[in-house]
């Protein structure tokens, strides 16, 4: 987290706010609720209280405006800049402005007012931008449900105002996993139309051949309706589908869009009911088979007939010599199978049936 220079903060814990005008995009009551909920996010972890004023000068003056809107800090039309707020201080200090050229919503379509307001009110209380992509104070908009503050945000605001004396229990947003952590393990890896998607905890990395650095995003930001953690995933390029497994459910993506008719139960694939999760999945294009790894065994699913091959499950250790007995994630790339288990990845030749190289898992992320 970062604060503004000289750690600007309010000198009182009783802060006032006033909403000067409303966006026509939402009902007045929805705007009131979004602002109040956003203030409560910060109040829950500090001794701060917020009182609404209906006239006169409040510490935090909230308004919607377009282009040049009176502070010589103009907005830029739709998209781009969404809002800004001033650090605590007299006059314009604490004031929070939203770009009326955006379309404000209370769901995940376009820009969610509550999320943007919670971020901006963080500025109004003295929080500057954080470089932690999992933090609310990261300066790029991303939609997520649930409690919006990360540990980084909570530490930052409490460094200014201290904790809430009533010590309300909050469940901070999870920390984003660090890609170059030597002990990093993966939950799932899949290809997606030439890109590689790596799932870890509540985040995923996107690797594009033309992007030098992986891009990290909350799973919920891209796919709000799928589970927050992913167990396994694979791409079937012939059907242009990516199947994502979480517990006993699976979802299908066409590109980045969820396919209607999902989630379905993993048992629809022919797995027995005793299987409660798939650890890893990989599609072998040459054979048209998808291998599903569960604990120390694996299954073979025929994509063409839509049935599970007979003679399975088989032992991972016996059929993939040199491999560990369990797999966290698997992906088929450049003619090799890449298996991931804990902090190690195994480059496995499917044709010569042996492990060619063993590397750290994080080397897949250019570490």
């Amino acid at each position: 987290y970062n604060h503004f220079p000289r750690d600007l903060k309010w000198m009182t814990n009783a802060i006032t706010f006033r909403i000067l005008n409303y966006t026509p995009d939402l009902k007045k009551s929805d705007v009131d609720r979004a602002i109040r909920t956003a203030l409560n996010v910060w109040a829950d972890v500090t001794p701060l209280t917020f009182k609404k004023l209906y006239q006169g000068n409040a510490d935090i003056m909230i308004s919607f405006g377009t282009k040049e809107h009176g502070d010589h800090n103009p907005f830029d039309g739709p998209d781009g800049l969404l809002a800004h707020a001033y650090p605590p201080g007299q006059g314009i200090g604490g004031d929070t402005h939203f770009d009326e050229d955006e379309h404000w919503t209370k769901d995940s379509s376009t820009y969610n007012l509550f999320i943007v307001a919670a971020h901006e009110l963080g500025h109004a209380l003295g929080m500057s931008h954080s470089s932690d992509p999992g933090a609310l104070m990261y300066p790029v908009y991303s939609y997520a449900t649930g409690y919006p503050l990360s540990v980084d945000d909570i530490n930052g605001i409490q460094a200014l105002y201290g904790p809430n004396p009533d010590s309300k229990k909050v469940q901070p947003k999870p920390d984003a996993p660090t890609k170059c952590d030597p002990m990093l393990s993966f939950d799932a890896v899949t290809e997606l139309r030439g890109e590689t998607i790596i799932f870890k905890d509540e985040y995923y990395w996107r690797l594009h051949p033309q992007m030098p650095e992986p891009e990290q995003t909350l799973i919920k930001s891209t796919w709000p309706s799928i589970s927050k953690k992913v167990d396994a995933a694979y791409e079937n390029p012939e059907k242009d589908l990516v199947i994502i497994f979480s517990g006993i459910r699976m979802w299908a993506l066409n590109g980045y869009n969820l396919v209607d008719g999902y989630p379905k139960y993993i048992h629809k694939l022919g797995l027995p009911k005793k299987i409660r999760k798939v650890d890893a999945a990989v599609h072998i294009k040459d054979t048209g088979k998808t291998l599903l790894f569960t604990e120390e065994e694996y299954w073979s699913y025929d994509e063409e007939t839509g049935t599970m091959d007979t003679g399975y499950p088989r032992s991972i250790e016996e059929d993939f010599p040199g491999m560990d007995d369990e797999v966290d994630a698997a992906v088929f790339q450049h003619g090799y199978l890449y298996f991931f288990h804990d902090h190690l990845q195994y480059e496995y030749s499917y044709t010569s049936r042996k492990v060619i190289r063993i590397m750290r898992t994080n080397s897949f992320l250019n570490c």
């Binding site: 503004f4 220079p5 600007l8 800090n73 907005f75 830029d76 998209d79 781009g80 800049l81 969404l82 809002a83 800004h84 707020a85 001033y86 650090p87 820009y111 943007v116 971020h119 901006e120 500025h123 500057s128 931008h129 470089s131 992509p133 300066p139 790029v140 908009y141 033309q210 992007m211 030098p212 650095e213 891009e215």
Partner: protein
């Protein structure tokens, strides 16, 4: 006047972004390649966003500049 190429458009976006959020000084500058202030500001931005710090306006950096974001200046006052 001539239409801007895609490349020019990228520089236009980057210049606007860095002026607004990283205090890039306005006004006429010399050739882009010798623009050390421009590179310094790009590096500052790349460092903050944990991108590969090259000082060059690569696709990754430009994509991030085009993302919707909060307009509070990174340097207060």
């Amino acid at each position: 006047g001539p239409l801007r190429s895609d490349d020019d458009d990228g520089w236009f976006v980057a210049e606007k972004y860095l002026r607004r959020l990283y205090g890039l000084s306005p006004g006429l500058r010399g050739a882009r390649t010798s623009s050390s202030e421009f590179q310094t500001k790009i590096k500052e931005m790349q460092r903050f966003f944990k991108l590969k710090v090259t000082g060059n306006l690569d696709d990754n950096t430009l994509d991030l500049m085009k993302e919707p974001r909060c307009g509070v200046p990174d340097v207060a006052e």
